[in-house]
């Protein structure tokens, strides 16, 4: 395809990029996608085998560029971020001694920024066809007040768009991704559905025994015990609802129903969970769509009066023993940058047009790269006594139910809201803070060797291990009573939480993203209240709390709860948001509600980087709804 034949060039093939490409393809538009990483593998066995063999089954473990050597061990040589052509952050380099070391970590982070203490930005992503396919599948809508924090709660900022504008697009996104949920169960805090939308595409995913135990624990609450939540009325019951998920509860679009592999993150072995390669394949089945893999966009070029984008310059690279690169450029009528909330601002900031745009493209507001957000994720893990009925974790999808009813209320004028995930994977990723491995390995090793890294073998820390029936009985009794919960906290958009360009480069010689990040008092107060709810929940469940925060955890901070000092920490939710936010004017935002640059008429910046505020819902469904709305607008223009 000759360059001048292209209607739309899209950088990135993840959720937003794939959806837009496919919508445009359906209307016969000519589209080229630039993908920085590898293409779609012929089948997912390559991904599965890499996952099975990996000694550390982190979210990025199945995907490329591989983190591991042939023995499945993480290799800092393979992952040298100054050598990998299109690198990415990984959980493997978030440890206390790695996160601020640019020789190890792709993201360049410092322990202080301008003299202020910084903490790790702890989320990761992938750079491969289909983008961050290691998502969980959670497909929540925002609640209406999420879009109007300023007008309702006099804090943060309003979006230039509201729930009413997105309602039908949410429905279309749910159809494309294939969302399973019960519509009545999802009507809370003002969420409503159009009259012509009687049900979700599929029935809800059944709940687990852990979900049921949490629900029962929160059925009868004393208002005095829930006043700390700051709701308009202290709740006497906190409902547990099914989590809408892009996970088949029956065959849908030629994909199977979920078989409960308990592996949504990092990869569903049967693709019962939607991932963007599905839509991307649909798009690529159209003759008018092509994808260039291993192609890294390096600069957005503007015309003479800097109103329009004329082309995007890229570098293609080969993989293998000898790395070769080729430079090129792509011309199109309209350009879409769908490279996530770190790589998109990076590209914008790299686009200096020989000094004509010293602050980068689309950046007259100076807001590009600012207001980086995540959902700081507070996790806690516990165990039920042997007298209680087992919960039987490690069965079913990773998450099937959650608490959504606490994510909006008058408290939002002073602290971040949160929603709650109920885990079905025991202590898999939480035990010992992940510092010494995952479960069930850690617990098993403890009882086989008579040690106590899990905390569960306090009486058996003698070096004398168990064998035979003693071992099976003990492990069964203990593992079947493990559970964990997680709290996704709304993070305020802070201008100093920021993506800029670092002096460190990647394997193509391009500057790597530099991150400055910390939690505001507003956000931290949300984490503190989340911790209080966790303590109440464990008490009502009769559970023993095994949560630990290690002294050297760089995300650690101390809070006072009822006069006691309590150490808290957070992990990344993988929800990278806010760095080219949408708003009404170019004074304080980068794009409009159609995700079009205020500065450049034919440039669209999509994905959760446009989120004005972060809310509490996992961002993907809103990314998808906004992408479909943008695709509709673009299709009318070319």
């Amino acid at each position: 395809m000759a360059d001048d034949e292209v209607d739309v060039a899209i950088v990135g093939s993840g959720f937003a990029g794939a959806l837009i490409a496919n919508e445009l393809a359906k209307q016969g538009k000519r589209v080229v996608i630039l993908e920085a990483g590898a293409g779609i593998p012929t089948d997912i066995n390559e991904y599965m085998n890499r996952f099975y063999k990996a000694a550390a089954k982190v979210p990025e473990s199945p995907y490329t560029p591989t983190l591991f050597d042939k023995d499945g061990q993480f290799s800092s040589e393979i992952n040298n971020p100054s050598k990998v052509p299109a690198g990415r952050p990984t959980v493997m380099t978030l440890g206390p001694s790695d996160w601020a070391d640019p020789r190890k970590s792709y993201l360049v982070q410092n322990k202080t920024n301008d003299g202020k203490p910084a903490t790790p930005f702890a989320s990761t992503y992938d750079r491969v066809a289909g983008g961050t396919s290691h998502w969980l599948g959670t497909s929540l809508r925002f609640v209406p007040n999420d879009f109007k924090m300023k007008s309702v709660y006099k804090t943060l900022m309003d979006w230039p768009i509201g729930y009413d504008d997105l309602n039908t697009w949410y429905g279309k996104a749910e159809a494309e991704l294939g969302v399973s949920a019960d519509i009545e169960d999802q009507k809370y805090l003002g969420i409503y559905f159009p009259a012509d939308y009687p049900r979700y595409p599929m029935p809800r995913i059944p709940e687990t025994l852990t979900d049921r135990a949490v629900r029962n624990a929160l059925k009868n609450l004393n208002p005095a015990d829930t006043a700390f939540l700051g709701m308009s009325q202290p709740p006497t019951e906190i409902p547990v609802r099914g989590v809408p998920a892009a996970r088949n509860s029956q065959p849908y679009k030629n994909r199977r129903a979920c078989a409960g592999n308990t592996n949504c993150i990092p990869i569903c072995p049967i693709q019962a969970k939607y991932d963007p390669t599905i839509t991307l394949n649909d798009a690529l089945n159209h003759k008018s769509v092509t994808m260039m893999r291993h192609t890294v966009a390096r600069e957005i070029i503007l015309d003479g009066d800097r109103r329009r984008v004329t082309e995007i310059k890229y570098t293609r690279y080969t993989t293998g023993p000898r790395q070769e690169t080729v430079e090129g450029s792509i011309k199109a009528k309209i350009f879409v940058i769908a490279a996530n909330a770190i790589e998109t601002p990076r590209l914008l900031l790299m686009s200096r047009n020989e000094g004509r745009t010293p602050n980068g493209v689309a950046n007259s507001s100076g807001m590009v790269g600012r207001h980086l957000m995540d959902h700081p994720y507070l996790v806690a893990w516990g165990s039920l006594p042997n007298s209680a009925k087992p919960l039987y974790p490690y069965r079913g999808p990773l998450i099937t139910s959650g608490i959504e009813d606490l994510c909006d209320g008058p408290f939002r004028n002073e602290r971040g809201a949160f929603r709650v995930d109920i885990g079905n994977e025991g202590w898999n990723f939480v035990v010992a803070g992940g510092a010494v491995g995952a479960d069930p390995d850690v617990t098993t090793i403890d009882f086989v060797n008579g040690v106590n890294r899990s905390g569960l073998n306090r009486d058996g820390n003698t070096g004398a291990g168990l064998f035979g029936k003693g071992l099976t009985g003990k492990l069964n009794e203990i593992i079947t009573r493990q559970f964990r919960v997680g709290f996704l906290v709304e993070q305020s958009p802070d201008p100093d939480n920021r993506v800029t360009l670092s002096d460190h480069t990647d394997g193509l010689g391009l500057p790597r993203p530099k991150i400055a990040y910390s939690l505001s008092p507003y956000t931290k107060r949300g984490l503190v209240v989340a911790k209080q709810l966790q303590e109440l929940l464990f008490q009502k469940m009769g559970a023993t709390d095994f949560t630990t925060v290690t002294p050297d955890d760089p995300t650690r901070f101390e809070a006072q709860i009822n006069g006691r000092p309590v150490p808290l920490n957070y992990i990344g939710a993988g929800h990278i948001m806010g760095t080219y936010r949408m708003g009404v004017t170019a004074q304080d935002s980068v794009v409009d509600s159609f995700q079009r640059s205020h500065d450049h008429d034919n440039l669209y910046l999509v994905g959760s980087g446009t989120f004005t505020t972060g809310a509490t819902a996992n961002p993907t469904l809103t990314i998808a709804a906004l992408a479909l709305r943008t695709a509709d607008r673009i299709a009318k223009r070319v």
Binding site: K53, D71, E207, Q250, A259, G468
Partner: protein, 220 residues
């Protein structure tokens, strides 16, 4: 990254190959090292070196008995009569290549105490080399991963330290991961490898014995 085309004969020294590559040692010195290790093992023994390795044909039955006693999982579950997966062969070979001497001792204890798993377990715990290898074997069956006996000893020795030591492990193979028994001990399935059906998680699982003891009924 360079790749050796002749991995098989030096597998026992695989990690040494990786390390030595950096320190400039040649593969020849590594092979010599393996020979030297074998020689040390055979000192003072009147049989040829080859007899100091377990024999996968004649010792497999003992290995199965040993594994049953160590893991608490029925032998017919670990190694079914119609064994299309045959993970026991992989495990036997893996141990034999890494811990030949202790493996021979362990199999001898198992054979001598074939009638009493209790006696077997008491005996094998009498010396560190058999005790920690026995634990490595349990973890192998449970997790599909290799935790070296020496590393487990380090873990035990440092159990009262304020910060737990890190011990490495290797997933033996994708197949081994999917055959891990700890998941069945929890009446579940390996994460990412389930043969159960939609909705099973909404109900209590089948009894534990269906997963690890009884061969007729398939655990669901």
């Amino acid at each position: 990254m360079s790749k050796s085309t002749h991995r098989e004969p030096v597998q026992a020294a695989q990690s040494a190959v990786e390390d030595d590559h950096a320190s400039g040692l040649t593969r020849r010195t590594v092979l010599a090292g393996v020979a030297a290790t074998t020689a040390v093992v055979t000192v003072g023994v009147d049989t040829p070196a080859v007899a100091q390795r377990a024999n996968p044909d004649s010792d497999m039955e003992t290995f199965e008995q040993l594994s049953e006693a160590l893991t608490g999982i029925a032998r017919k579950k670990l190694a079914p009569d119609t064994d299309s997966i045959g993970i026991k062969h992989d495990y036997f070979k893996w141990i034999n290549e890494r811990e030949p001497a202790a493996f021979v001792s362990l199999l001898k204890i198992a054979k001598d105490n074939a009638n009493s798993s209790q006696a077997m377990i008491e005996k094998l715990q009498a010396t560190d080399d058999t005790k920690f290898l026995a634990r490595s074997i349990v973890l192998m069956w449970y997790l599909g991963s290799w935790y070296a006996p020496g590393d487990l000893k380090k873990l035990v020795d440092s159990r009262s330290a304020p910060k737990p030591v890190f011990i490495p492990h290797t997933v033996i193979s994708p197949k081994a991961y999917a055959q891990g028994w700890v998941w069945r001990v929890a009446q579940a399935h390996p994460m990412g490898y389930s043969d159960m059906q939609f909705g099973y998680w909404n109900r209590e699982p089948a009894p534990l014995d269906d997963f690890i003891i009884r061969t007729k009924v398939r655990g669901t």
